[in-house]
Point group: C2
Chain length 205, copies 2
């Protein structure tokens, strides 16, 4: 199909599609002549994916690029896919990491908390810094997260993670896509559920 | 203190502080003379709050403005504060809402699911649309969320919401701040916990 047909099929403007092409988020179509290219169903699928990642997942285009790079790499190692997906996602907003001063990477309290929790994680995982920064910001803003509250949140997120991991299909090639999309696209589902559950809980009191 | 001292006390540049002042995120200091103003501890606290909301909470400045407006309004009604906070947060990224076509506000499946779950929520709550859009995006991207998976996520988010609501202090004036900050700043804590728990769960299999 022509680019105008791809635009129609995906509900996306030609201008936006050309922007995706320039950013290498979308692979070029097959050249038909000097000014026209032919696009296929794989382009339709890719455009839908880019829009889901940006509009629902809230990723910026740099993060979308990182995610697509992981998706386009065949990698049978589920753990490295998971880590790469998390890095891509955390890298989509480096602000919290930049706000950490030197030597504050994953502060002692956070590392000790993870150890006490019994979680086995990569000591260089950027999520440790993110947790440390977010926890500190809560304290600094007068919303201290006491141990009991952190434990309750950890219990709940363990349940979520168990469902996340159980939902992964067995085939390695499908896994990268599932891990990344499950992480990116399920996040707004969880956040909306939290809002609705908060409201229900408030009303029931 | 002078603006240069406020900059030093908060680790924020004078340029950024002047930008906050222009955006009315920060109230003007007391005029000392034609070119100087005096700032107090309430300005230090406000700047810390703005930075927490942007750097940790990931809000854009328009959303920060909405959140601060709620915080600056004395409102003893916890439910309306909760709703206003959620609206401010959901409004920070209207992309998912804009991507919904007309007549697709909170689709039937989502409303039926909420009803079956037994949650009492405002039928116009924007989180319903957000949930519908995110759920549909998962389906469209090949990560279908079957009933069993949605129920497991809902069980976990109910636990989180219970802790959220239990953690609110009794005094109405403190509540608005706690509700908003608890919602905005705890979200990145939960997201980091989910990543770490995913990793731990993957490793333990």
């Amino acid at each position: 199909m022509r680019i105008s047909e791809l635009a129609e099929a995906t509900g996306t403007s030609v201008t936006t599609l050309k922007f995706y092409l320039r950013r290498n988020l979308l692979s070029p179509g097959t050249s038909v002549n000097r000014t026209q290219s032919d696009y296929g169903p794989e382009h339709v699928e890719r455009v839908a994916l880019i829009r889901a990642l940006t509009e629902v997942g809230g990723l910026d285009l740099a993060a979308v690029g990182r995610v697509l790079t992981v998706l386009d790499t065949r990698d049978p190692d589920r753990m490295s896919v998971l880590m790469t997906a998390q890095h891509a996602l955390l890298g989509s907003d480096g602000a919290a990491d930049r706000s950490l001063g030197p030597g504050r990477r994953g502060d002692d309290r956070t590392r000790e908390w993870i150890r006490a929790r019994g979680w086995t994680v990569d000591p260089d995982d950027p999520a440790i810094d993110r947790l440390a920064a977010a926890w500190r910001a809560c304290d600094d803003s007068g919303v201290p997260l006491a141990d009991e509250r952190m434990s309750a949140y950890a219990d709940a997120t363990e349940q979520i993670a168990r469902v996340d991991v159980e939902s992964l299909p067995g085939e390695p090639t499908a896994t990268a896509r599932q891990v990344i999309l499950g992480t990116v696209l399920v996040a707004p589902v969880l956040s909306a559920l939290r809002f609705l559950a908060q409201q229900n809980e408030s009303r029931s009191r």
